[in-house]
Amino acid sequence: MSETLIRPRIEARPLGERLAEKLPLLLVPLLMLGGLVVTGNPSTWATLTVAGLAMGLMIFIMASGLTLVFGLMDIINFGHGAFVAVGAFIGFTVLTWLSGWTGHPSVLMNLAAMLIAVTVTMLATGLIGYGFEKVIIKPVYGQHLKQILVTMGGMIIAQQLIHVVWGPDALHLSRPLALQGSWVIGDAAIEKYRIVAVGVGLALFVAMRHVLKHTKVGLLVRAGVENGEMVEALGYRIRRLFLVVFMVGSALAGLGGVMWGLYQETITAHMGSEIMVLVFIVVIIGGLGSVEGCFIGALLVGLLANYTAFAAPKVALVSTIGLMVVVLMWRPQGLYPVVKAK
């Protein structure tokens, strides 16, 4: 077979097209720059930017599972927020049990308590995710309207059960000692917890990318997002794959719940549905099914929310809606539209 027939098309792609692919990446520094202009004060800007990144990455943790579940099975779990809330309550309970450790001056003890709380939470929400998938979602595969209704119903039930188990009132909990307070860098005060949140979020993103790009399960997930039927025709059970992703997504929602709860130091049964709004905006901006898009969308939303909260506090949430509208006008399927076969 002659080589002339098979010249790669990658060379033929115009420069503009390749640039457009990278463009969403540029939005984050652009927005940061805009923030600097609006705040006009480098130290305020630094504080706000770290807060924005922390918020964005926590949302990313919660949203990543949702977007993958959608990509793989065309299911949006409107009850995803329930895992956030349940996770927060479980995490808080464990941390309360370990209050001797969290109040201990030793950083190591603090971290050990956090690690235990997070592990228990993720295991629990992962398992609840298993049950949720089997009981709530499985009977309504492929029926969008019913999916929305049933998962919403699951959310109502979960919220009520939180009330039954933990009572009707909000829970308050201080962060472990080591995570309280701020570091002062120049004139800017940076809360320690936010740095930790940024670190955890980034680590998770890198890990998730690694799994998706370099492991067989990750490749199967990406293949499944594009063409689940073909994955099955190759001999893999996509349902089992989906169940795993759903459980991981639920566990991550639980982790996000604990982190968000400690960020606010107060949790309510309704926190899940409140955060879901941000999560949805992020997932839509990023492109349903895309982890990279979700990451960038989360950073954009986190930063924008914090800048506007400083510049015009009344319109913080509306500004993120505005961002969503602008992005969708530019790219109707989100920043990174996911290729779907069929």
Binding site: L5, I6, R13, L219, L220, R222, K342
Partner: protein
Amino acid sequence: MAEPLLTLDGVHTHIGPYHILQGVSLTVPQGGVSVLLGRNGAGKTTTLRTIMGLWRASRGEVRFDGRDITQLDTPSIARAGIAYVPENMGIFTDLTVAENMMLAATSGPIDAKRLSWVQDLFPPIRNFWNSSAGTLSGGQKQMLAVSRAIIEPRRLILIDEPTKGLAPAIIVAMTDALRQLKETETTILLVEQNFAMASSLGDTVAVMDDGRIVHAGDMATLVADAGLQERLMGLSLEAHQ
């Protein structure tokens, strides 16, 4: 005569409100190439999808290698030894060529000797091994799709219109590769509208129309019998002569 590798017996398939297959009976003997001809909408693709379990037969039986696979799910059917190359090729464009091939090798790491044989059949698979599959041309994607199906030995390969929309030079290359594949143990069930290609490869042939098999026999008989071709012409062979 040995038992055929694949038998469809009175298979009916419904898609939503539409009754697509209306009692398809078809046998695919061990070895060689069986060709399924028929005009658009005759039910060829649905037949392949029903064999694969991607549509469920509402009536009738599909037997593979002496075993009833009618009710098996798609992954089990694949693991029983049937590979499928769908009409849209089913390439994972988000993955590289190598990753596409890796996922196709379900029983473990890719066998190096087998891979080198596949790459000799389809040189682009070697040349673009680490390229994103989305950047391949249509013909290259088709080669990748067939390569995935043969990277591990399979008893039966279902191929849905491998020449559709391809340039004549690529069709020649594809036909050559399939002819070489024929030399191996593999049995091929080929859906094709290109009669020239179909007749040069096929050992047996079945012609479909309106969800039924209207003719089945040796390809040589059909090629030799101009009158029979004439009769079936209106059904399937028009515009391909």
